[in-house]
Structure formats: structure tokens, C-alpha cells
């Protein structure tokens, strides 16, 4: 069964450094998402991406964050200058398409644990 994959599984970085988290969505999916889960807290929506542009973003997704689909398979989340509070598990998800009667299920990757020191 196709899966969403994410690399690396664990990233440690120093405060102020840039990090790029990588995701490979399921190949025929058109919608891509990033979520964040701070340890012990709920999963929070960050951003969605469709047709090479951001479709929707939350208040968490400020100017320090950006997303990109640099080629036909990867979907990346970049944090320009990491802060201690960016330490969290970051999940990528993808779905086939939206709409009534369509495939609305989001498939999640295993996550990247980001630790900012």
C-alpha cells in the first residue's frame, strides 16, 4: 500500500539555524499538508498546498515557515531561523482530492522529530 514518507526521522538543530523537512507524498495525490505536534499537545494544522501554491495556512505558519514542491515528488517545509518553541513532531500528509464524494482521507507520514537546542 502506498505510504507518505518523511526524512529525516529526527533532526537536531541549533537555535537560529535553518532546517528543511522533507516529505514524499503518495504519488497520485494532489493536496499536501504539514501538521505540528508539540510534545504532549494536540496535532495542529500548519499549511496546505495545492497546484504549487499555499491553499490555506494557520496562524502558526508565519514568515519563518515556507513550503515548496521542488520537483514532482518531494514536498518540503523550511523553517528559516529555528526557535526553541519550534521543537515538535512535524507530520506531512497528502490526499487525493477534495470535494463531496471525493477522496477526503488524509494519509499521514511517520513524522520528523525536530529538536531545537
Amino acid at each position: 500500500e502506498p505510504e507518505v514518507t518523511q526524512t529525516p526521522s529526527h533532526q537536531v538543530t541549533q537555535m537560529g539555524q535553518e532546517v528543511i523537512l522533507r516529505c514524499v507524498p503518495i504519488s497520485n495525490h494532489l493536496y499536501f499538508y504539514w501538521y505540528r505536534q508539540i510534545l504532549g499537545q494536540k496535532v495542529e494544522f500548519l499549511v496546505s498546498f495545492y497546484n504549487n501554491e499555499i491553499s490555506e495556512k494557520s496562524e502558526i505558519f508565519d514568515d519563518q515557515f515556507s513550503v515548496e514542491r521542488p520537483d514532482g515528488s518531494n514536498f518540503t517545509l523550511k523553517i528559516r531561523s529555528t526557535k526553541l518553541e519550534d521543537s515538535a513532531m512535524y507530520f506531512c500528509a497528502s490526499s487525493e482530492w477534495e470535494g463531496t464524494g471525493g477522496h477526503y482521507e488524509q494519509y499521514f507520514g511517520p513524522g520528523t522529530r525536530l529538536t531545537v537546542t
Binding site: K42, V43, S48, E56, P110
Partner: protein
């Protein structure tokens, strides 16, 4: 804004017994989707079951079933014949019918299965 509430931070069940996890949500919309996701220690979230709000029939998937009470905005998950592999964090989630962008999650319920 839609919110999802899971009032049970932790639950435990004896192997082979039945357990019910609670979830309530707040929305002004009439059509939407509800989901239960399982997050085992490996941390990858797996969809357990989904319910379309416009369907009156409660969804079932093998040992997993839901009790969807639309008027009460309640969406509980029942796990029958609990197995050790069911131990995980369970998240209830809400998504509008017309926007696949934003899934709202509850805080989660940690389920422990005792042998």
C-alpha cells in the same frame, strides 16, 4: 471556529474487553466529516474510522465502531475485544465537507490495554 474536545486524557481496558473513547465537537456546519486516528508509539497516525455527518448510520470497521450523535455533536469510538496492539494515542478529528485543507484534532486519549 470548529473545536474538538476529548475529555479523557487516559483510558485503560482489559484485553478482550470493550472500551469507549469520547469525543465532542463544536460546529455551525451541517455537513462535515469526523475521523478517529490511532497513533501508536511508532508515531505514525493511522486512520481508524471515518464518518460522514450526512449519513445516519454509524460507521464500523471490524472491532471499531462509532456512536455518532449529530444533535449532541458527539462522536465516540468503541473498541470491542480489545487487543494489546490497540494500545496507542487516539485522536478524534473534524473536517468540513467542502474544505480538505484543515483537519482539527482533539487533544487525544491515551489508551492502555492490560493483559
Amino acid at each position: 471556529a470548529q473545536t474538538v474536545t476529548q475529555s479523557q486524557p487516559e483510558m485503560s481496558v482489559q484485553e478482550a474487553e470493550t472500551v469507549t473513547l469520547s469525543c465532542t465537537y463544536d460546529t455551525s456546519e451541517s455537513d462535515y466529516y469526523l475521523f478517529w486516528y490511532k497513533q501508536p508509539p511508532s508515531r505514525q497516525m493511522i486512520l481508524v474510522i471515518r464518518q460522514e455527518a450526512y449519513k445516519q448510520q454509524n460507521a464500523t470497521e471490524n472491532r471499531f465502531s462509532v456512536n455518532f450523535q449529530k444533535a449532541a455533536k458527539s462522536f465516540s469510538l468503541k473498541i470491542s475485544d480489545s487487543q494489546l496492539g490497540d494500545a496507542a494515542m487516539y485522536f478524534c478529528a473534524y473536517r468540513t465537507l467542502y474544505n480538505n485543507n484543515d483537519m482539527r484534532f482533539g487533544a487525544g486519549t491515551r489508551l492502555t490495554v492490560k493483559p
